[in-house]
């Protein structure tokens, strides 16, 4: 009985994950400039430069996406 309940719970979690996201009109917070992944790009570029010069690793950060999703 417990095994089936646990399985049912997992299935519900998984099925709700597959439609992850919000409705187009629920993006008010995501549209905020401080919620943009590409915010503070100058800071990020400076950091990349400093750490590329001082450390062995590099790269990783990338693109945008998110935001208001308009048009």
């Amino acid at each position: 009985m417990r095994r089936w309940t646990a399985l049912g719970l997992m299935l519900i979690v998984v099925s709700s994950c597959s439609s992850l996201g919000v409705k187009p009109w629920q993006r008010g917070v995501l549209a905020r400039p401080d919620m943009a992944l590409a915010a503070e790009s100058l800071d990020a570029a400076y950091d990349d430069h400093i750490y590329f010069s001082k450390e062995a690793s590099s790269g990783g950060r990338g693109f945008a996406g998110g935001g208001c999703g308009c048009n």
Binding site: T5, G28, G69
Partner: protein
């Protein structure tokens, strides 16, 4: 309470809650949009929000359209989807509108009309049928949007 018994109660409860969360939410009776009162007019319903950047372009254009074609039977209705009224008010101070604003903070109307992007405009002919729809607002398509409205308006006495 011994742990195994608690699990026996909690697990089904959590499952039930999970099941309930997947059902469409029972929305409180909120925003309504009764288009029947506008029968005989061309209705342009625009779904917008203060955070929607293209709406900064669409509002001046809609205001222009309302002034230009209001006499000929155009009614613009802008459905606001801001969760906070203060945000919508701030936007309207910068982009004033003489057309009707309907508030839909819970997104009930947006859900009902199946809005897929912000902003979305729905165009209704005087007989009440939906005549057009476009997602997004592009400056380059203003003439197209205007033509779609004019096509539905009753021809004026000057034959235009």
């Amino acid at each position: 309470m011994p742990i195994p018994s608690m699990t026996r109660i909690l697990l089904p409860l959590i499952t039930l809650l999970g099941l309930l969360s997947t059902l469409p939410s029972v929305a409180p009776a909120a925003a309504t949009l009764d288009l029947s009162q506008y029968r005989g007019k061309v209705v342009y319903v625009d779904f917008w929000a203060s955070w929607c950047l293209p709406c900064k372009k669409s509002f001046p254009w809609m205001e222009q359209m309302q002034r230009k074609y209001g006499q000929r039977g155009l009614q613009i209705i802008a459905v606001n989807l801001d969760e906070e009224q203060a945000d919508a008010d701030r936007f309207l101070r910068s982009y004033p509108a003489s057309f009707t604003i309907v508030r839909d903070p819970e997104g009930v109307l947006a859900e009902r009309y199946g809005i897929e992007g912000m902003p979305t405009a729905l165009l209704f002919a005087p007989d009440g049928r939906q005549a057009g729809r476009h997602i997004g607002f592009r400056e380059s398509r203003k003439a197209e949007y205007e033509a779609a409205i004019v096509d539905l308006l009753p021809k004026g006495s000057d034959g235009k």
